[in-house]
């Protein structure tokens, strides 16, 4: 038999070869190509890749129509943060002594397992101006709250972001729940002896102990919000009041035949996600690697 040292080398190499090949082929290589395209004015079809230097990047920041779409991503960001707060709240409740725990947990998790396209269709139906939501409000005597959920430009992005929140909060909740269950029970007992109330226990014991998980959940939520695509694309065909930065990117590439500019937009998006996550890490501290 081979020595464990040789085995180790062999194993690391053979176990990582395929996964890393996949990672490089389908993630890094396309990303490098993307960066290359971003310095050209390639139209997406021809064999010409005219080098244009930084001009694509300049036009992103000087064209309010392109960068302005981030205003629509803002709703997804806010709803994403609310989504995490709600998810954590329900996780804490479900982690306490409670009846029908499994039932509630399963119900709240259900939206996440439904097909994403089906969810958008269902909400499209519910948001119709004569749809279920407005009817429900009327029946509840809240007729004054009825809205044109899709037609009103100042509401529509919140309506869409809500769909995202509805779909994903169960996922966050289950992850938080798992983290909560792993906080050592002794810490709570010690706190109880010290006479700490529920609020203090939450702030000083629970939250610090699950910081890593909060970071990961926020990381996923924030990048998801900045890269929102499917919901506006299926629900409103990414009409101007609902266009996000990524739907605009696809439009620039495939309606206006400017793949170079679209690539630059994708690179900007990637950098922006990185920056936001860096800020988030700094704000929430923790410093330790999330992985």
């Amino acid at each position: 038999m081979l020595s464990y040292n040789t085995q180790k080398k062999l194993l690391i190499f053979s176990f990582l070869a395929i996964p890393l090949a996949l990672l490089i082929t389908f993630s890094f290589y396309p990303a490098v190509k993307l960066i290359y395209y971003s310095f050209t004015s390639w139209d997406g079809l021809s064999n010409n890749y005219p080098w244009v230097g930084l001009s694509n990047y300049k036009s992103i920041f000087t064209n309010p129509g392109l960068f302005g779409a981030f205003g629509h991503n803002f709703s997804y960001l806010v709803c994403g943060i609310i989504q995490n707060i709600i998810a954590l709240y329900f996780a804490i409740i479900l982690n306490s002594k409670i009846k029908a725990k499994n039932f509630f947990r399963s119900v709240l998790f259900t939206p996440y397992i439904l097909n994403a396209v089906a969810i958008v269709f269902i909400f499209k139906f519910i948001y119709l101006d004569t749809g279920a939501l407005n009817l429900l409000l009327q029946h509840m005597g809240l007729g004054s709250l009825q809205q044109d959920w899709i037609g009103n430009d100042s509401i529509v992005n919140w309506s869409l972001a809500f769909v995202s929140m509805w779909e994903y909060f169960g996922f966050n909740m289950v992850i938080y729940l798992a983290a909560l269950q792993s906080v050592p029970q002794e810490m709570y007992e010690a706190a109880k002896i010290d006479g700490a109330n529920k609020w203090k226990t939450l702030i000083y014991i629970t939250i610090p102990n699950i910081k890593g998980i909060i970071q990961i959940n926020l990381l996923l939520t924030i990048s998801g919000a900045l890269e929102a695509f499917n919901i506006p694309f299926i629900m409103t065909n990414a009409s101007p009041p609902t266009a996000t930065f990524l739907t605009n990117t696809m439009n620039v590439a495939f309606t206006f035949g400017n793949y170079g500019l679209a690539s630059a937009m994708a690179v900007v998006l990637l950098v922006l996600v990185g920056v936001v996550i860096f800020i988030q890490q700094k704000l929430l501290g923790g410093g330790r690697d999330v992985v």
Partner: protein, 424 residues
Amino acid sequence: MKKWTITVSTAGLASALLLGGLASTAVPTMAKTKKTSNITGTITVLTNRTDMQANGMLNQYSKEFEKLYPGTKVKWETFVDNNTVQVQMNGGVYPDVMMILPTITPQELPNFFAPLNNLGLGNKLYFNNFEAYQGKVYGIATFGDVNGIVYNKLAFKKAGIKSTPTTLSQFYQDCALLKKAGITPIALNYTDKWPLQYWTDVLPDLISQNANYLNTMVSSNTPFSPNTPMGKSLNVARTIVNKGYAEPDFKNTNWANSKTMMAKGKYAMMFLGNWAVPQVIADGIPSKDVGFFPFPASNNGKNIAILTPDWFLAVNKHSKHIPTAEAFVKWEVTQSGYANYAGGIPTLKSQKSGVPQLIQFEKQASKVIEGLPQSAQWTKISNGAQLDLTGGGAVQTVLTASNFSSALNQMNQAWANAKSLIGN
């Protein structure tokens, strides 16, 4: 820049609009006499007709073609959006029979498609020079459309409208009458986006009574000002929305739903092409209750109409079965009866349309002009300005802008910028 050959043939067109026999009129079949040995193999065909996939029509077409050319097989692929098709084209793998995407410039045609000159159709077809480069034809239109207003005659009757409007002011009056009668005057189909394209790529031509109007925009720095044909036509769309003549929830609408609503008499009008007529009828309203009239763009009641092509078919130059693909294109355009099924005007000039509503239309139009393709320069500037004038995006922007005149100003600016960057 390549100059497009301008052919304005009113006489020929008028006869095309006349009612011909329903279904496909007899066409001399060359297929039977031609050597068919090299027409074999399986071809894939891209289609935008998901509805015909669902109702089995596409399968029927495959069977007919396969019967005519034993040893062939036709498979269909449904068109989803430009993105997927363009990425596939870029990778060099795409269906044998293609629809030509609007983003493809004439210079790029030879890179992707096989020339179709040897099909022997040439001048027998409308739109023969639309998708051509250096004297070679790469695309054949599936059928032609004239654009106008499809309407529900019963809805007009209910609102007390005796005759269809011929001027813009009459049009607004009729809208008001319809609204009063509790009927949505005109459906825009905002969310689908593509139904809005006619407000920017056809109506300006109608207002200016010039089929080449769009191409003249390239010499202007302010083609979107309120007094220009483009500005005026956007103003019509905007007025419809402002006065509440569009669907009550116009930002959450789609064409499939609108045609049902029109069949039910809840929507009165839609500004589309003649292809829309049979589709509305298919949703359960007798043909005699559906009408079609030219857009009342003028002030004097003399309204022109423009014949424009629907999707163009092309043959993949990398196809393993180019003869089969070519035979299919020829068959679809000349023999399949698709133009009639779709309610279009057959591309083959000798065939007649089978849509009775076109008779009424033709009586009311002062003349019908064959449309012209947009010049490469025009496409470059509008793409550079990121104004989607052929897909409805620009109309969406104008309809949702908080201020109409500043929206037009912004478009002028974007246009002038792009124009100066691209140069003349």
